[in-house]
């Protein structure tokens, strides 16, 4: 049986343990079965991310930066990759549930950790709200297509209904959610692949249709960066894989593959989507079409069938991303409550359903409030802001652990290009924040300050850094 250093869940001290590829052993002989394989890990990563980049952002992005918005997505993908590498190293060194918060709190201590952990929880709620509003737009399109008209804008209402339903389903702990999620992601990939394949061939003139003759950077290069900041929400899924590291089979192999693989896959899909969209419809029109522009692109390419396929895919993917974010938020809250940074009661599990009902209801209430604002871009940017802070600190954490080099720190995956790449990853994560709208930065900053103050006041006696001393 291979010996692997482990960090005990509730205690910052590392303990000698006997983790294996199949089971995560805790103290007192309690075993936690590892049940999620590579496909499951990739599905969590891709399923969380794919809702935004393909189905919500292309219109907004092209409207802001023209065909050059493909660069915005590539910038986002490169930053995500630069974070995924150190995150993989840390996750293989500490294959326990907790993810980014765990790495940061164990390297930089309680205050920074608490700020990151609590603000990440908010970040996930903002992301969930963002996806739900995206879902609202798609549901509205469905109503429109089937000729159901009402005399008010139902987007927010539809989003709220979906949010409440999702929380209810999450609490009742329906069996087979993973199978359902796998099936949805597979269907999505299939639809997206067909759409992108046809669209790309068309863009190269295979079908003889004229493509849009447009300058690459119609609006100049400055919007490329602000758009990168906006669309970064499309990459907020890969680190979720690390938060369930304790449930992943063969973590030393599957964690890096799932994180890095899901980033690479979605980056390629996003870039192709923008390429196809801007080759089919001009940027200004895409911008006007907004959140659901990709439906019109598909209609242009493939007619009614294409529009319907993308409509269905959009509904599925926004809802699956929202669901993944809500579930992730309850795990994020658990990670900080385990360390006593917030009341432990928040993340108790009810016996009947086996789910953390209090944290899910709590999440549901906040998400509904956020959805009611209906501010897609604000929700997206604040979500990205709060994640980017953690991502930047993950890059620093890997440098920290390597410098201190605790005895148990033996990652199976080592960040290539160390220390240059983690430094670039850290700097670019923080730098991307500077390109966001001022209002998003203010909201994000206020949440960070509140999270930090909470930690200082509520958890003044918690010490998480002792692992290094």
């Amino acid at each position: 049986m291979p010996t692997r250093p482990q960090i005990d869940e509730g205690n910052p001290e590392p303990l000698p343990g006997k983790d294996t590829d199949e089971v995560c052993i805790q103290e007192e002989g309690v075993e936690l079965e590892r049940t999620i394989g590579l496909m499951g890990g990739l599905t969590i990563g891709i399923g969380t991310m794919i809702g935004a980049g393909i189905f919500v952002f292309p219109g907004l992005a092209a409207g802001n930066a023209g065909p050059a918005s493909i660069l915005s997505f590539i910038i986002g993908g490169v930053i995500a990759l630069l974070v995924a590498l150190p995150a993989s190293e840390l996750a293989t060194a500490m294959p326990r549930s907790g993810g980014g918060y765990f790495f940061v709190s164990r390297s930089m201590g309680t205050k920074t950790g608490g700020m990151v952990g609590i603000s990440l929880w908010f970040g996930l709620l903002f992301a969930a709200a963002f996806y739900l509003v995206g879902f609202g737009y798609y549901a509205f399109e469905v109503m429109y297509e089937i000729g159901l008209t009402i005399d008010f804008d139902p987007v927010v209402l539809l989003a709220v209904i979906a949010g409440v339903l999702l929380v209810a389903i999450s609490i009742s702990g329906t069996e087979n959610t993973e199978k359902l999620q796998n099936a949805i992601v597979t269907l999505l990939i299939f639809i997206i692949f067909a759409f992108l394949l046809y669209g790309s061939l068309d863009a190269f003139g295979v079908f003889g249709r004229e493509t849009i003759p447009e300058d690459f950077a119609v609006y100049g290069y400055r919007p490329v960066f602000s758009t990168a900041a906006l669309v970064f929400t499309s990459y907020l899924g890969f680190a979720q894989v690390a938060t369930i590291a304790g449930d992943i089979e063969r973590p030393s192999r599957n964690l890096p593959l799932a994180m890095i693989g899901s980033v690479l896959i979605v980056t390629i899909l996003y870039a192709l989507t923008i390429f196809v969209a801007t080759s089919t419809v001009d940027s200004a029109t895409l911008g006007v079409l907004g959140e659901t522009a990709i439906i019109e692109v598909s209609r242009e390419l493939l007619g009614m069938v294409g529009a319907i396929a993308i409509l269905i895919a959009g509904i599925l993917s926004t809802i699956s991303s929202a669901n993944a974010s809500i579930l992730a938020s309850s795990r994020a809250l658990y990670s900080v409550s385990r360390d006593a940074l917030v009341p432990k009661r928040l993340s108790i599990i009810n016996l009947k359903y086996g789910t953390p009902h209090i944290s899910l209801i709590f999440a549901g209430v906040i998400v509904v409030v956020l959805v009611v604002t209906g501010q897609v871009e604000l929700l997206a940017e604040v979500a990205s802001f709060l994640h980017l802070v953690m991502y930047g600190l993950i890059c620093l954490a890997v440098i920290f652990f390597r410098k201190i080099s605790p005895e148990w720190y033996e990652p199976d995956f080592r960040t290539p290009g160390y220390p240059v790449l983690p430094v670039i990853g850290g700097i670019s994560s923080f730098a991307l924040i500077l390109f966001m709208q001022p209002v998003s930065r203010w909201v994000g900053l206020i949440i960070l300050v509140v999270a930090a103050l909470w930690t200082v006041i509520y958890a003044s006696d918690v010490k998480l850094k002792s692992v290094l001393e």
Binding site: E33, S97, G173, D247, S330, T355
Partner: protein, 239 residues
């Protein structure tokens, strides 16, 4: 040599150790597996933080009852999203001889043996002997398509020490009807031994046949090949 029996028990789902099980297993060795099946959206560590002590203390109580009866008993505790997979892993690690699915003990101890491969019959006979049940009335159920006959089955059982006159009933059934057939027979039999039967494609998709068999019977179910008896897809099993 004493046979080693695994007993998965979901103590958090109010499952308890029925009267009579300890007596039934008094000449075997027992591994008690406190298992808690949690939905996929809940992290295993989260459930464990909250419930491990509770499970531990319940397991300790049950263990002491076994030990009082002179049964060598180990306990393990596991949180999982996939109960069947976990049970299979532990069966292998503990090198167990059979797995027992808990149900209340019945007053009469008529035994139904369900089998498809004759190797399993030998095992069933040995286990029945070790449990001191070789005087019990036995029903034999052969699952088709089979590689053996009911007559061969009877003679194998006789070799292990079960009397021919004890074997009162001989039934044939098809694999896909197995749960229904068990349901029909269950009021007759207090104890069911089931050997490897393979898993049909339908069950591979719908899953959880062990739960169904457990629910279809009144008495305990003894899986002669562990979870693999019923939870491995047929085609994988044969290849």
């Amino acid at each position: 040599m004493k046979k080693k029996i695994l007993i998965p028990i979901e103590v958090l789902k109010e499952e308890s150790m029925p009267e009579g099980i300890i007596d039934l297993l008094k000449d075997t060795e027992v591994t008690l597996l406190g298992i808690h099946d949690i939905p996929e959206q809940t992290a295993a560590s989260q459930a464990s933080m909250q419930y491990k002590e509770r499970i531990e203390s319940i397991l300790r109580n049950i263990k002491s009852r076994f030990v009082e009866s002179g049964v060598k008993t180990e306990t393990r505790q596991v949180f999982t999203h996939n109960k069947e997979k976990t049970i299979e892993r532990i069966e292998e690690e503990e090198d167990i001889d059979a797995t027992l699915l808990l149900n209340p003990m019945q007053t009469h101890k008529k035994i139904l043996i369900i089998y498809r491969y004759k190797e399993n019959l030998k095992k069933a006979g040995e286990l029945i002997n070790q449990m001191g049940l070789n005087k019990s009335i036995v029903g034999l159920m052969l699952v088709e398509p089979e590689d053996t006959t009911l007559d061969q089955g009877v003679s194998i059982l006789m070799n292990t020490g079960i009397k021919q006159e004890s074997i009162k009933e001989r039934i044939k059934t098809r694999r896909e009807d197995i749960v229904k057939e068990i349901e029909n027979q269950s009021s007759e039999y207090g104890l069911i031994f089931i050997g490897k039967v393979g898993k049909s494609i339908k069950e591979t998709i719908l899953g959880n046949i062990s739960e169904k068999i457990k629910k279809a019977t009144y008495g305990p179910v003894i899986l002669l090949e562990g979870m693999k008896s019923i939870d491995k897809p047929e085609e994988l099993e044969e290849s």
